[in-house]
Every structure is written in C-alpha cells, then in structure tokens.
C-alpha cells in the first residue's frame, strides 16, 4: 500500500433497519427508547422516526478506514463527532480522503452523510502503516 494525499477510501452505504438497531443497542445494554419505541420517539421526543445510535455511525467510520487499510496497517486513533441525527430507513454513506502521509503514519478525513448530503458525523483517523 502506498497511500497518497487526496486518495479516496472506498465508500460504503449502510441502511439501518429496526432489527439491526435493536440488536446493536441490545449488544450495548442501551435501553434508550428513542432507538426502539417509535410512538415514544415521535410523539414524546418529536423525532421523525427511530434514531440511529450515534456510536453505531462512529463504528462505521472505523470500519471504513480498516477495510481500506486491510493488512497494510493498523488504526491507531479516531476522533469524530455526531452532528446530526439520522433515522431508521435512511441510507448513510461513509467515506474518507487521505489528508497527510508522514513516514509510516497516514491521516484520513472521514465522514458519514445522508443522501441529502448532510454531514452526520465528521472525523479524523490516524493509522500506522506496516504490520
């Protein structure tokens, strides 16, 4: 692998369904009703639908970098923030761009966005090349 500034990471599209969102929150032991109780999410909290858990979107940013790296390197750091909510049924597109290569260290700007182009979660990841 010989990454260069400006290289794009392969994009991946995720669509979260009810079952996946339930299983994710169950794996965490997260009982927050906005993720599984649709009448509550809509009528009480005023959301248009069930809210996709923030750290699930963060996980996809990690995956985007790891899949691109393959066996050529190790993810050493990632920072991201959840800026906007997304909902069950939304298509969420995750991708990234190499912004720096310094010896054995690569910096990648990553983001998750919805089909309208809203950035849901921007982030920066760092990886060390070599095994």
């Amino acid at each position: 692998m010989n990454p260069k500034v400006g290289d794009h990471l392969p994009e991946r599209r995720h669509t979260v369904g009810n079952v996946q969102l339930m299983l994710y929150n169950a794996a965490l032991w997260n009982g927050h009703r906005i993720h599984f109780d649709e009448p509550y999410a809509k009528d009480v909290e005023g959301y248009p639908g069930l809210v996709v858990a923030g750290p699930l979107i963060g996980d996809w940013l990690n995956q985007c970098v790891e899949v691109w790296l393959g066996d050529a390197g190790t993810l050493t750091r990632i920072e991201y923030s959840n800026r906007a909510a997304s909902y069950v049924g939304d298509v969420i597109i995750v991708g990234g761009t190499v912004t720096a290569v310094d010896g054995g260290e690569v910096t990648v700007e990553v983001s998750a966005r919805n089909e309208a182009g809203d950035v849901l979660a921007p982030g920066v990841a760092t990886a060390r090349l070599g095994s």
Partner: protein, 151 residues
C-alpha cells in the same frame, strides 16, 4: 459567559469512577460485529475485537429501576448541570493494543473538564470524560475521551 458554572460544579473536575473489570468473550464480540454490519471475518468469528467494541463492553449495566423513564442510565460521575438538553457529542479514541476473547479489561472513567461557551441560541456547557481501559498487566489498551455538549 453567563456564569452557569459555579465553583461547586467545577469542583467535580477530577472525579473518578470505581474501576470496572469485565471479561471479553467471543460471543460478545460476534454479537457486536454482526450488529454493526461488520464484514471482516476475524471480527464476525470473534477471533479479535473490532474497534469500538469497548463501547459495548463498558456500557453501564444497571438494574431496571435505575433507568429513567426514557430508558437511560444515569451517569453517576456527573453532577447536576443547570442545562440538561444533550446535543452532539464527540469521541476521540486511541487504540493501543488489540483485544481478544479471554482478556480481562478494566476501565476507569475520569471527569476531566467542564467548561462553558456561548452558542448562537444561548450558553452551552461542555464536559469531557476520559476512559482508560487497561489489561491485567496494567498496560493501556484504549484511551477514549468523550466530549458532550448541553444546552
């Protein structure tokens, strides 16, 4: 600044949680990998934990009567803030060592900062929590800093 942060509130900076020690199982790794749409076989088979698995491993396990009516567990590390509506949050995670089934890991959370900024629609309170995850040899496995914003 509107002076929301009293000395009493700021005195909570440095507060630390009791250590929590958990065992990593192949089953829990597999559940996490599947639920996150992971496609890498080593994670789906649970041979090694994917990044952010620690979020699931150390999510607070509380009893039903300790959950709020909306199903959220109360973070006992936090004081009562004068603003309560949670906005966007961020994570900054350093990965130091891989995690495998059978590993015993210990987490300690520290409230490292509380500060105030003025936002477009009024004051905002920020707080930061650092969680250090170490193995039984005392080596740092993961360091995670969470930043949350209240309005």
């Amino acid at each position: 600044m509107s002076g929301l942060l009293t000395p009493e509130l700021l005195a909570n900076i440095g507060k630390q949680s009791a250590p929590r020690r958990e065992i990593v199982t192949r089953r829990d790794i597999r559940k996490y990998a599947i639920a996150t749409d992971n496609r890498q076989r080593k994670y789906l088979d649970g041979d090694v934990a994917p990044p952010m698995f620690h979020v699931a491993l150390f999510w607070d396990v509380v009893e039903l009567d300790q959950l709020t009516p909306d199903g959220v567990s109360i973070d006992t590390l936090l004081p009562k803030f004068p603003l309560e509506k949670a906005m966007a949050g961020g994570l900054d995670i350093e990965y130091h060592r891989p995690i495998h089934p059978g590993d015993w890991l210990t987490s300690v959370r520290t409230l490292t900062d509380i500060y105030e900024k003025s936002g477009r629609s009024g004051p905002l309170i920020f707080y930061e929590i650092v969680m250090d995850v170490t193995n039984d040899d005392g080596e740092l496995v993961i360091r995670e800093k969470t930043t949350r914003i209240l309005r």
